[in-house]
Symmetry: C2
Subunit: 194 residues, 2 copies
């Protein structure tokens, strides 16, 4: 059976982060649900750089679903909206309490996970402007991605591919990660000018 | 005055490539128009990994607009649809004839630009599976991005950030590229496991 992942989106979510996570997880044949947290039930999200993305469903209909992973994109004010959503709050707390995989990138580790105590005593990272994480075990500000047990954090748009591939590895193993990674053309060298 | 860019999208366009280009160009304050090529005029695009993106307008209303840049995302069958669109065909041929900037990534250099003769005698790159470019001067299969005058090509999702940043540099200069790049958190080191 496919692994399952929930990616919640809000107005003001960072589009590179959101789309990179969704796209890469789907390349690994993970069953990804993109959920809007709009109160109105509108599935259209306008990201932090004005790109409109249509979610698959409203977060409310995910309330009784179990996911193997919940991964939270950053972006402002998207991460603030995600932090304030009651349905996502419940899902995230249950995910952590059950020892299942959860992750966040950019502003979301601090604004979403830490605000709920879900980074307490964890090794973590986040965007350089969002590394105020007093209850974390330690902030690793150098690494693109930090894995501490079932909690995975990352820094920003430039690390989103690494974050997404790490989520694939945690859910589906290294062979699947390498299969997906090889098709992304990551190992090429610098720009050539003529 | 802001520089302007046209990013055409079709059903089956690659989402990481499309969104990374749009997002990064907007971070550089470039005025980006995301245009749907759907015949029906529907602005909703479903990408090659099932992500729905809403374009800003239909390609038809761009027909008389001048853009400083036209950049084409890859993905299948998106690149095939883009190659077949008459309005985009006219815009691309004019762009090249006027010596203005144009670019493509992944399958799009071969399927869109080469099919119109717009890579003839150019140094180019593209996705490893789409490097059949007999009229190009030479295919550089090692480089993430290849710049030959006003023609910029790149390999795939894993090189999309480099491609987008190169487009910023060509339109707005190195200082702006570095300003945008620094906020993307690109210079961090590898994943840390605890």
């Amino acid at each position: 059976m496919s692994k399952t992942a929930l990616i919640p989106l809000a107005n003001g979510s960072e589009e590179i982060e959101a789309v990179t996570i969704i796209d890469v997880l789907r390349r690994a044949d993970i069953d990804v649900t993109v959920a809007s947290i709009n109160d109105s039930g509108d599935l259209h999200i306008r990201g932090s750089h004005g790109i409109q993305i249509v979610a698959d469903c409203s977060i409310d209909i995910c309330a009784k679903t179990n996911f193997d992973l919940i991964a939270i994109p950053g972006g402002l004010p998207g991460a603030e909206h995600l932090a304030a959503n009651a349905a996502l709050d419940k899902l995230l707390r249950e995910q952590a309490a059950e020892g299942k995989l959860y992750g966040a990138i950019c502003a979301a580790p601090q604004l979403v996970l830490a605000s709920k105590g879900l980074l307490d005593n964890k090794m973590v990272t986040g965007h350089p402007m969002f590394q105020t994480l007093p209850n974390a075990k330690e902030v690793n500000s150098e690494s693109r991605v930090v894995v501490d047990g079932n909690c995975i954090t990352s820094q920003g748009p430039g690390t989103a591919l690494d974050f997404a591939l790490e989520l694939v590895e945690q859910l589906c193993g290294l062979v699947k990660r390498e299969e997906v990674s090889s098709r992304l053309v990551l190992t090429t060298s610098a720009t050539a000018y003529y």
